[in-house]
Symmetry: D2
Subunit: 464 residues, 4 copies
């Protein structure tokens, strides 16, 4: 998962990208990067870690220019290296190009193999670079045409921004898996994954990009192109469930309200005989509040989150049970003791964390723990941009709900139904991608990012 931001024609372009990334930090904490164009040169700065760690006054001052894009990248297990940090920048016969991308291309490995056999050389393991190579192989006087030729050859999920020496281009795949919004800061066109970036910049949100739409911004002018006929929409509902910030609008819906509806619906589908509703912070907050209101059970902050955790944490030699969870969450004994608790978390992936949280709540004195999940069981990995484990690690792919309940040691466990969650969304039921719950992959699965990594056996410099 990633967050992207871009701005055209603004004298403080790189600074705005930096602020935009600050607002989109929840979409990725592995690496951050900003690229700018000053009329003569591209300037790029990337680093591992949070936006706050990568940029300082000196690095931002280097990023001169009036056109800029930025990127935050989600932490994945395998290939957490600086070489894969975006923006990716290259020089082609059409001039310098930079790209940032949220999503995943399912046919990247095939294209890459073909291009390599024709003599292309790749810098990264990222599928994003494939688009630049396709462009370089199909140069056009008008750069947007070259991009559209390239995009006609890729399949998958992409919301992307392309920076050239002449313009800033935004593009969204024909299924619209990932969000991408257009707005204006002091009249200058800007683009962001979520509206919370616009709020910070006091940007005026104009609209979501259409399915398969390509928007070219030059100064204050914008032109719209259509990639090919828009295809069936396949918006990612997990953005609503977990990924997006609750104060954002995503796919035309306020995320916090969607979550309240999911929680309320869950209370109707799966009531519990309990004394209180406790969210697993922060992702369960709104669904728990919705559950509380619908059920009439009081809402309690029974788990407190420590927000000061860093990227690495030194483990105790002598084991403290469930230490990794304890350092992030603490159960409030005074509130929980002797009470029957409904615990609301956004989803269950491997089941490991849920098991630890349930145990922590019990050890703080809870009499009963009823786990409620405001989304269906996650049974299939995402191939469209969310980093999920393989099927054999997804607990719901391998166990029944009752088995999962036993595994996490809850007194009861219920998920929101597929019908239920589609009903809570504000669009038609068939306009959402439900692959992680149903296995119905709209554009296939491809060979995925991990294979590409094996194709690229080069370890670049250490991070620092």
């Amino acid at each position: 998962m990633c967050g992207i931001f871009g701005i055209e024609g603004h004298e403080e372009a790189a600074n705005l990208s930096y602020y935009g990334l600050y607002a989109l930090q929840h979409r990725g904490q592995e690496s951050a990067g900003v690229l700018s164009w000053d009329g003569g040169r591209l300037h790029v700065e990337r680093g591992m870690g949070h936006v706050r760690d990568v940029f300082d006054e000196t690095t931002l001052a280097r990023l001169r220019g009036f056109r800029s894009v930025g990127h935050t990248r989600y932490s994945t297990s395998g290939n957490s290296v600086i070489a894969n940090a975006q923006p990716v920048v290259v020089k082609t016969c059409m001039g310098p190009l930079g790209i940032v991308h949220n999503g995943n291309l399912v046919n990247a490995a095939e294209i890459r193999e073909r291009l390599e056999s024709e003599g292309s050389i790749f810098q990264t393991t990222s599928d994003t670079e494939v688009i630049l190579h396709l462009m370089a192989r199909n140069p056009r006087r008008n750069i947007v045409e070259s991009l559209m030729v390239a995009l006609s050859q890729v399949r998958g999920a992409y919301s992307l921004l392309l920076l050239s020496d002449s313009c800033l281009i935004a593009a969204r795949d024909p299924h619209g898996f990932r969000p991408l919004l257009m707005g204006r800061v002091q009249g200058k066109p800007c683009f962001a994954s979520e509206s919370c970036a616009f709020d910070l910049l006091e940007a005026k949100e104009e609209r979501e990009l259409g399915l398969g739409e390509v928007v070219v911004a030059r100064g204050e002018e914008v032109e719209s192109y259509q990639l090919r006929e828009a295809e069936d929409p396949a918006r990612c509902l997990f953005e609503q469930v977990y990924f997006a910030r609750p104060d954002s609008n995503v796919f035309g819906d306020v995320v916090s309200e969607a979550r309240l509806r999911m929680g309320a619906r869950l209370a109707r589908e799966a009531p519990a005989d309990a004394d209180m509703v406790v969210p697993v912070p922060d992702s369960g907050l709104f669904a728990a509040l919705g559950y509380s209101r619908e059920s009439g059970l009081p809402f309690e902050f029974g788990l407190i989150r420590n927000h000061y955790i860093g990227r690495t944490f030194i483990q105790p030699k002598q084991s403290i049970r469930d230490f990794g969870v304890k350092v992030k969450l603490n159960a409030v004994r005074g509130l929980l003791e002797g009470r029957r608790v409904v615990l609301v978390d956004d989803s269950i992936v491997r089941g490991t964390t849920s098991r630890k949280i349930v145990r922590m709540v019990r050890e703080a004195g809870a009499a009963e723990v009823h786990m409620r999940i405001p989304s269906p069981p996650t049974r299939w990995p995402c191939h469209y941009g969310i980093d999920t484990p393989d099927r054999d690690e997804l607990i719901a792919a391998n166990q029944t709900v009752e088995e999962i309940r036993q595994h996490i040691d809850a007194d009861s466990l219920d998920y929101l139904s597929l019908d239920g969650i589609l009903n809570c969304a504000n669009g038609p039921a068939d306009s959402y991608c439900t692959a992680c719950w149903t296995g119905e992959y709209r554009v296939g699965v491809g060979s995925g990012g991990r294979d590409q990594e094996e194709m690229f056996p080069i370890r670049m410099e250490s991070e620092d």
Copy 2:
């Protein structure tokens, strides 16, 4: 404000201090330090910033030993320099000593001046160092006696831990301004500012230190001494209102429950004709929930906090209004639009931030904004360990409630009464320090830390 932790006789002593500081990080983010004793040497590691930034595997591995203390320091404006980071360590004729301290000594400047005129040399501007010098001037074979002689000369608020080559000593001033708890980890004595540190370590909480109590721990043995007759208790109620973590027990009360009571009482004292209750996160969460329950108005997360903010933030050249607040908080338009909002924040200091938040809520579409504060107006600076501005900067010291309401542009503004808040505490009304609301300073005000800083015109190395 500061957080302190100490552990005696544990083979993983420095690691436990590090974990303890992680749990106490909310009590200070300016600097962090850990000291350990390995039987032959003291080892110390300090740095500016969060615990996560100061320590890594290499630095922790250096901190060998079985006795350790740690400290996190709150960010103050003036003297944010590494030289003032604690633990303070010195070598005296009684051997090496290290100290960590939460609180403020009101007669430190006088003592310092006297000691300097007698030939003492100080390393820091911190009042903490005064105690070590008093000890060095009054050596005793039994180190606890030397400490007690020193403490008999200082006046003010202190919860402190002293590490020597023979023992770990905990001491709390006779008024008990600041909290200090004693517990056991795997049978080994440990001490912490708040119980949340014990929860993380699975330590068994034993008890709060008594007023004027001095506890000496050697291996698993502990001995208790009484400094002088305990004086009138003067516990800091602001710990309950704002400072302590809601999952901690402080002064024998669960912080989150105290805050719920304050919110509920505020709803009775100052009801509002409104549609919803919105907390200013995170400090207003529990009081807002209490207000919501008592008033029957729905509780809404109308403000979303960005938890990824770093210590420094590059400001935009071109002004975005209220940028400093916007980068931390965002108002959820979808929830607030057209609604009458009760906004609950823990306190109002200068009024600047409240004014910006009210404006942000209005710009997100709120029809009315009713500000409610679950504590009395802050009219006097704290001289006992909380970093508050001078009287001329405290808005409630200079303006009436109505003037403040106009300044922050709220439709109404109400504070919890002094009687009200004392009623919400679980101890007798006269057992709390109310100086910041009433100006009744139990042990005088002294010359404060800022004067000392002027007394020490030395700027040490830059932080990095």
Copy 3:
């Protein structure tokens, strides 16, 4: 200018590269890099600055494997950026490849333009990358064939090492501009720019690579190929004059002895009526000693060099005349006062430094200063790998010897003649490149590196 080292089949391969670079540090202090192959992955570590600054135990430990190449790069004015640090590593359809290169290709810009127009994407401004792209465009099952196809298309000076997943390849251009030696460490094949790297490793020197020779090393086996018919040799005599370390053998000659001969010959060609011979350290040491012996004038260390200078030096605000030279050299008044001095430096490029040194020697009391240069006037820029300024900055390209003498304010100035220096070399006179003295460029001049830099308007991350 650059230094390269490579080793095949040795269990401590990267460490040996690191030691080799230490010995070759005089050939480039701008950046350093080491690449290794462990049978499954390439590992690369590069950085700006000296070998001592780029590598530590952690980075070296990352560089696992049994095959390795290393590179040190000379500091040039314009494009001192990490993106240009070598080794260059890429993934092609023939697997991962890494290259290090000493020299300069004169037709790199043309090839690059052609490849870009055909869709290739370049990572760096370095001409070295061109070779990898030519290989990627001409894949062969046997990688040495692909390299030979690529090399058949480039023109210029190159001594290079190519690391693949199957072998280590060394290649030298058909004119043999730059040195490249083959040896064995504990039986394993190794390659280095100069023999001093072999001395450090206790490697057995086997031989210099032939003109146009390509050597493939796999384990302990080596095979030799011939690129095309060897062309007229054009060895760079400046290696002997200035570049190589005096303890190295270069082109079959001991550098220190060649310099002694040049100094002696200079004493015969251009005697001086003086009291002593003083070298400009360190490059003038041997020639000055040769001059002293031949002339019978005593050799004196009249200039002392400060070896502790860093890469950057903060200039005084208030001008100290000739500060940049003074910080590196100091004249010994006690030795120079009232004496007539023969000053020997390897060459005069812009004349600025010589002017400052002469002034410094005069200010230390010298009665007369006679400058003697053991090489002919440098009148033409090098296009074959030594970083020299353009013609308009070369003082000897624009002024007569007498004008130069006046400019540097010497009492007399003489250079070694072209015949003289060719006579001091141990090979036939027509086997050396004399382009910098005569303008006779054996393989033309091409468009040079600077044009390529303009072709690549991308500024990567800051160095640190």
Copy 4:
């Protein structure tokens, strides 16, 4: 060993200290520090390593003010920690004070013990701090009086600079063990360990400080005080032999000329039947040249030094014999093969390095190796500021010259006689300290620095 520099009343004071330290870098590479006073505050910056590594534009810009002192510290084995880096700065009742010190106090441990028993607290293990404590215990309105009271209590070697808020003071012990010079930069008083610092700054050297002289500089005014009657001079002859830079004047003598005389005398005292004289660079250069001239044997650069070595060097796993020496020095086979060589090095301490160098020269083909040392055998440790090992590690304290010859495997070995070296100095024979050769310690030996270190069992932060 250390280098010190100070400047008074100059608008670029800290920059000049930085340049001064650059010139004095050979006197210490362990740590570097600069202190400045801007009229209101002291500013200090210290770090481990070379001057080039410790300071950059940012740190120098912090060091505002018109009065400054700087210090470079020699690398010793045990206590290489930042806490001991100078300048030492403290606040006393006389205001802020900073000190830099070259030398060693033999009664520091006794004074320290006494002061600690009276309640003083020390920050460092350095004997320098003792002087500040003595001052703090004996405050005077006129700070120079307080310093003179303090110095009357210490015994040992010191050339020191004290910076206060009112003046800069230079002091030299009554025996004058270490050098200290006074000069003027643009009319402003400045002080340095050696004249090479003045050369770099174009400072006018005025004179050496007298024995026991204390000079106070305020603006352009200087006043001189006499500590007590000057005692017998005891100048350190090792400054001439090894420590000082050859272009410096030390004790009124040009170092390079003294070394030439020592080499010449050695040639007369200990001739050798050989073909050439080879210096061990860089410390043996001048003595070898003197030997060559006197003996008529040709001078040859048969050993080449690598000047790019860093502070740490990663050792090969698989042993290369004498690697530590090989990485610093390389023998030039072409010059040495089949020749009988006189090798000249400044002294032999443990014998380990000499043994390796002799072996390296033999392996490069030398037929015979005759080692010649232009100073007497080092039989006693220095207690006056040079870091020498204990007697049991000094080879000449435990073995005869013949045994040493066998140990280092030379064909012959000779030292300069005591009479010989005293004869080469330009002062009376009894005006030099000869303790390291004779064991005649003029002011006793005291308990030394190592004991103090044991007295201070505190390990401060790691270096970075």
